[in-house]
C-alpha cells in the first residue's frame, strides 16, 4: 500500500485547561486533497501550526515521508518539503511578484549568503522563478508590485513561492478566504490541477470549494476529529450534520 506523504499520529496540544487538539491522526496520500473543516475555534490553526513546526505538540508525532519531524522547527520542515500558504497572505508587499518568487528560489538553494551578485543576474534562480510563475499563470505579472495584485493573485503567488521549493506536500490555510465567488471558482480550478504536483492538506471554510476539491474530508470539532471520509460520506454523516453542518445540510 502507498505510504502517506504527511501524517500525524495522536497529536495532542492543550493551552491550560483547553484541549486544542485531542488525539488527532490525519494523513495525506500522493495526489490527493485532504480537507480539514470545522467551526471557528475547532483547533484547525493549532493543528496546522503543529504540522508546520510553529508549535510543539504535548504528545503524538508528525511524519513527513515516513520520517519523524515532530521535534524539528519550521525552517527544517520547510526544507524537508512542507509548502505552506497562509490565511492572510504573507508576502513581501513592497517587492515585485518576481522578487517574491525569487525568495523561494533562494530558499531552495538553501543559502542566502551571497552578497555581491545581483539576484536578477542569476540565471538559474531566475529560470526557477519564471517556471513557478508560469505554472500559476502569473508570468505576465512578474514586474508588478505585490501590493497591486488582487487577492486571488496573491494566493496564486503564495503557491508559486511554495512551488520553487519543490514541496512534497502543501499545507494551505483557508486559501479561499476573502475571495469572491468568481475568484473562489478560479482558485478551485487551479488547486484541482495542483494536486498532481504535491498532495494538499486544505483547511477551508468555503464548503463549495471543499466539496469540489476534496478526495477526503476530516471534520474537526472541539479539537477532535469526529469523522473522516469522502465528500458523500461526510455529507451523509449524521454526526457531522449535528455538530457542524446543521441538521438540514
Amino acid at each position: 500500500m502507498t505510504e502517506p506523504i504527511l501524517a500525524t499520529h495522536s497529536l495532542q496540544k492543550s493551552f491550560g485547561a483547553l484541549m486544542a487538539t485531542d488525539d488527532i491522526s490525519i494523513d495525506l496520500y500522493p495526489g490527493e486533497i485532504h480537507a480539514v473543516i470545522g467551526p471557528n475555534g475547532a483547533g484547525k490553526s493549532t493543528l496546522i501550526a503543529q504540522i508546520c513546526g510553529g508549535l510543539k505538540p504535548d504528545a503524538g508525532r508528525v511524519e513527513l515521508l515516513g520520517k519523524d519531524v515532530t521535534l524539528t522547527n519550521t525552517l527544517t520542515r520547510a526544507k524537508a518539503g512542507i509548502g505552506r500558504t497562509f490565511q492572510i497572505s504573507a508576502l513581501a508587499m513592497e517587492d515585485t511578484v518576481l522578487q517574491n518568487v525569487l525568495l523561494g528560489a533562494v530558499g531552495d538553494i538553501g543559502s542566502p549568503w551571497r552578497f555581491l551578485r545581483p539576484v536578477l543576474n542569476d540565471g538559474s534562480l531566475r529560470s526557477k522563478a519564471a517556471d513557478a510563475l508560469k505554472r500559476v499563470g502569473l508570468q505576465d505579472h512578474a514586474a508588478t508590485r505585490t501590493s497591486d495584485l488582487s487577492h486571488g493573485q496573491r494566493r496564486q503567488l503564495e503557491v508559486a513561492v511554495a512551488l520553487t521549493l519543490k514541496p512534497k506536500a502543501f499545507v494551505m490555510d483557508e486559501p479561499m478566504a476573502g475571495l469572491g465567488a468568481e475568484g473562489s471558482k478560479t482558485l478551485t480550478g487551479f488547486l484541482d490541477g495542483l494536486r498532481e504536483e504535491a498532495p494538499i492538506l486544505l483547511v477551508e471554510h468555503d464548503m463549495d470549494a471543499v466539496f469540489a476539491l476534496a478526495d477526503r474530508i476530516s471534520v474537526l470539532v472541539y479539537g477532535k476529529i469526529i469523522e473522516t471520509g469522502t465528500v458523500d460520506q461526510i455529507k451523509s454523516s449524521k454526526a457531522v450534520r449535528e455538530a457542524y453542518l446543521g441538521g438540514d445540510a
Binding site: 497562509f86 517587492d95 533562494v106 539576484v119
Partner: protein, 327 residues
C-alpha cells in the same frame, strides 16, 4: 521627476565638487565641513543597512561610532606616547597607520554588533529600540569612567594619522580618503540590496513568516545585517575621530545615535543616497543656522516634521518619487 540613479550621481558629484572648489579658492574650512558630511553619511549608510533593509530601528548605533572612534583614539594615543596598548599576554603596540586603525575599528565594532545583535534581536519593536539604546548608554557611561583614556574629557590626538602615499594633513587629501570610502560603501550597499542576501533580508523585514517557510532564518539574516551595519558605522567613527583629532564620550551618546537616524529620515529611509543627502543637509543647517542661533535644532525639528508628514521617502523620495522595485 528625476530617476533615483541620476539623483544619486548628482549628489555625489556635488559632494565632490564643493571641496574641489574650496581647494582652488583656499577655503580649507569648507573642505572640513564636506569631510564631516561625508563621514556622517558613511555612519548613516551603515545604519541604513540595518534600518532600511532590515527594518531594525537601532537607537544605539553611536556605540559602534564610538567604538570606531576609541579604536583610533587608543591606538594613536599609545603611538604618540610611545607606550604599548598592552604587554600581557602579548604585546600590542599603538599605531598611526590609518588602514590598521580602520581594520581594528571594523573588527571591534563588528564583534560588538554581533554580541549586541544576538541579545537585542530576541526582541522586536519598541523593546529592540530600548535595548539598543541601553547598550549605547552603557558604552557612553563606560567611556566616561575610563580614566586611562581621558574619561569625560576624552583623548586628544596631536597629529592626524598616516595613510600610505598621502599627506593626510592636507584637508583635500583626507576628504579624498573619506569620499572614496563612502563611494565604495555605497557601491557595496547597492550590490547588497540587490543580492540574494538583500532580497531575503528585505523579505524578512516585511514578512518574516514567509522567509521561514522558504527555509531561511530571518533572525540570522537580521543579525548579519546588524553586524555589517555596525562595522560600517564603526569605520565612520574612526574617520570622525581622525577628522577632529579628538575622541570623547560624546561619540557614544544617544544624541549621536539620534542624529545618525535623523540623517536617514531626512534623506530617505532605505534609499541608497538618502543618508548622504540627510547628512549633507544636517551639516549645512548646523553650519549656517548654527551661526545664527545656538537653538538651530528648532529649525531642524521643523524640517524633520515637514519631511515626516509630507515626504515619507525623505528628500530623495520627494525628488525621485516612489522607489522603483529593483530594476
Amino acid at each position: 521627476m528625476i530617476r533615483e540613479r541620476t539623483l544619486n550621481g548628482l549628489v555625489l558629484v556635488l559632494l565632490l565638487a564643493v571641496p574641489l572648489w574650496a581647494m582652488f579658492n583656499d577655503q580649507p574650512f569648507t573642505i572640513t565641513l564636506a569631510t564631516r558630511a561625508v563621514i556622517f553619511a558613511l555612519a548613516a549608510v551603515g545604519l541604513n543597512i540595518a534600518l532600511g533593509l532590515g527594518g531594525l530601528v537601532s537607537l544605539g548605533h553611536a556605540a559602534f561610532f564610538g567604538i570606531g572612534g576609541y579604536a583610533m583614539g587608543i591606538l594613536a594615543h599609545h603611538a604618540q606616547t610611545y607606550t604599548p596598548v598592552m604587554e600581557l599576554p602579548f604585546l600590542i603596540e599603538g599605531t598611526k597607520s590609518m588602514p590598521v586603525i580602520w581594520l581594528v575599528a571594523m573588527v571591534t565594532s563588528g564583534i560588538a554588533a554581533f554580541l549586541i545583535g544576538i541579545l537585542s534581536l530576541r526582541t522586536a519593536g519598541v523593546y529592540f529600540i530600548m535595548i539598543t539604546l541601553a547598550f549605547g548608554q552603557m558604552f557612553y557611561f563606560f567611556s566616561i569612567s575610563w580614566a586611562a583614556y581621558g574619561g569625560e574629557d576624552g583623548l586628544l590626538i596631536y597629529v592626524r594619522n598616516d595613510f600610505p602615499g598621502l599627506n593626510t594633513l592636507v584637508p583635500i587629501n583626507f576628504f579624498a580618503i573619506c569620499f572614496t570610502i563612502l563611494c565604495l560603501v555605497l557601491l557595496l550597499n547597492g550590490l547588497l540590496a540587490r543580492s540574494p542576501f538583500g532580497l531575503a533580508l528585505n523579505a524578512a523585514r516585511q514578512a518574516p513568516q514567509r522567509v521561514q517557510t522558504v527555509g531561511l532564518d530571518p533572525q540570522r539574516l537580521k543579525l548579519v545585517a546588524f553586524v555589517i551595519s555596525g562595522v560600517i558605522t564603526g569605520l565612520a567613527g574612526a574617520l570622525f575621530a581622525d577628522l577632529n583629532r579628538f575622541v570623547s564620550p560624546t561619540m557614544f551618546s544617544w544624541q549621536m545615535s539620534g542624529e545618525i537616524m535623523i540623517f536617514i529620515i531626512l534623506g530617505g529611509n532605505a534609499r541608497l543616497c538618502g543618508p548622504v543627502v540627510g547628512a549633507v543637509v544636517f551639516v549645512m543647517l548646523e553650519h549656517f543656522l548654527g551661526g545664527l542661533s545656538e537653538y538651530w535644532h528648532i529649525y531642524l525639528g521643523a524640517l524633520l516634521l515637514l519631511v515626516v508628514f509630507f515626504a515619507r521617502g525623505g528628500l530623495v523620495g520627494l525628488i525621485a518619487g516612489r522607489e522603483v522595485a529593483h530594476d
